[in-house]
Symmetry: C2
Subunit: 261 residues, 2 copies
């Protein structure tokens, strides 16, 4: 039983931590190819494969991406940088190949459902890429920060309509390790047969978790920091960040079905 | 080099195929716990952990889910069934714990950006669960079909506001193997430094891919089927499916920022 529960893949997954400092050594073309193949092996809704991956090598583009993402140096300094995009552009080209009036597919193409499908497809691929890279000994960090100035990112990467960058991923040889932050309690995230109906129980879980997280910070800062998780979340959520996202998504052609009702 | 590129984790990822027929043998509690732990180990945007997983064991609930998903028998007949949900409900409870006026976080909580974050968080977790389960020798199948009648699914699982089921996952011991469909060509999905600007090149890729997919079906049906991928995609996209998705997402409290502009 033990060896079933602790195989190499599961150890790789359980051992994940975000790495924000990389050695100055590039990832080989062969390694990139394997990482992308692993990404492509993930499931895709109705085989629609509604995503693309842009690998950014050009140092000046990486420098600009780092700036757009809020001056995160590890966006520029890493072994390789990937941008995962929702992509229905090739489905428009598919209509041309099939000599089909694109108007016939537009309501579906531009629906919220298909945007959701694209985001899920891109994210399944990304997490396979992450696991593959980590199994090779690389570290990774997801970069949601590219959504801070997504219009500039789209211009930099020449994204056509129906292509929307969702997040980046820095990959490389870790130069500094990092700790793994304790996750929410198992029973709080995992429900059985019904969503846990008792809000008081859920709040108890969160209060216990606050102690865990406070302890985590205290241990690592000689008591200087002792943030509660719920406190961190309120700081995060009081900030109205990336409030133009809906507009940018629709500008690229996605999620335009609201006017059809 | 070879052993770096072909370790156990990468082999597990590359070997993925959707399994739609399972032995009648349940997954142990210990195994479920490991699968969920692997899911929880995935990255989360700003540590927001905006998802929950509902494991469905009750046979009657599984039967209903199978019906709602369009009579897919493997939704009911498997080792275990998981439903991955975008979840910001606990963040509302966190506001109560912090004695914060929930109105202060509502614009952010209900933004398209935070919905995107929840979907990405839930999907990263799901793909880790898939890889963990497959590494144990189980097969899996994602079930987007639960979105066919999502209102009924939400009622069945008693989802409170700010909880939206996104997709299911059937897990179990495979009773029938299946083939792996060839993915889009590497150079079509993976772009370098800029999104491939040449639509003619992209169309050439798709035409070559059509031949690959036609060949795949021909080989498996003694020539009876020879669908092109672009043809399949047009059949899929001409159908207007799940066009109420935006409404259901907003009904649960997500993505309501359009009226704030």
């Amino acid at each position: 039983m033990d060896d079933i529960l602790h195989n190499e893949t599961i150890n790789t997954l359980l051992n994940h931590r975000s790495i924000r400092s990389f050695e100055n050594s590039p990832i080989s073309g062969e390694q990139i190819q394997t990482i992308i193949q692993a990404a492509q092996s993930a499931s895709s809704s109705s085989f629609i494969q509604a995503y693309s991956i842009i690998g950014v090598k050009d140092p000046e583009k990486k420098r600009l991406l780092a700036e757009y993402a809020g001056n995160q140096p590890y966006v520029a300094e890493n072994g390789h940088f990937l941008v995962f995009c929702a992509d229905m552009h090739r489905h428009v080209l598919a209509a041309e190949i099939e000599n089909l009036d694109p108007e016939l597919i537009r309501p579906s193409l531009e629906s919220t459902e298909k945007f959701l499908v694209s985001v899920v497809d891109a994210t399944l691929a990304a997490q396979n890429a992450a696991a593959a890279a980590e199994s090779m000994g690389f570290g990774i960090c997801y970069i949601g920060g590219i959504r801070n100035q997504l219009d500039k990112v789209m211009e930099l990467l020449s994204c056509p309509p129906y292509v929307l960058p969702l997040f980046g991923m820095a990959i490389g040889v870790p130069s500094k390790s990092s700790d793994q932050k304790p996750r929410l309690p198992f029973n709080h995230v995992y429900h059985e047969d019904t969503y846990q109906p008792d809000d008081n129980q859920l709040k108890e879980d969160l209060k216990k978790y606050n102690q865990t997280i406070s302890g985590y910070y205290k241990d690592r800062t000689s008591g200087k920091r002792k943030d509660r998780w719920t406190e961190q979340m309120m700081t995060l959520l009081e900030r109205r960040s990336r409030m133009t996202m809906r507009h940018l998504i629709q500008q690229q052609g996605f999620m335009k079905d609201e006017s059809n009702e």
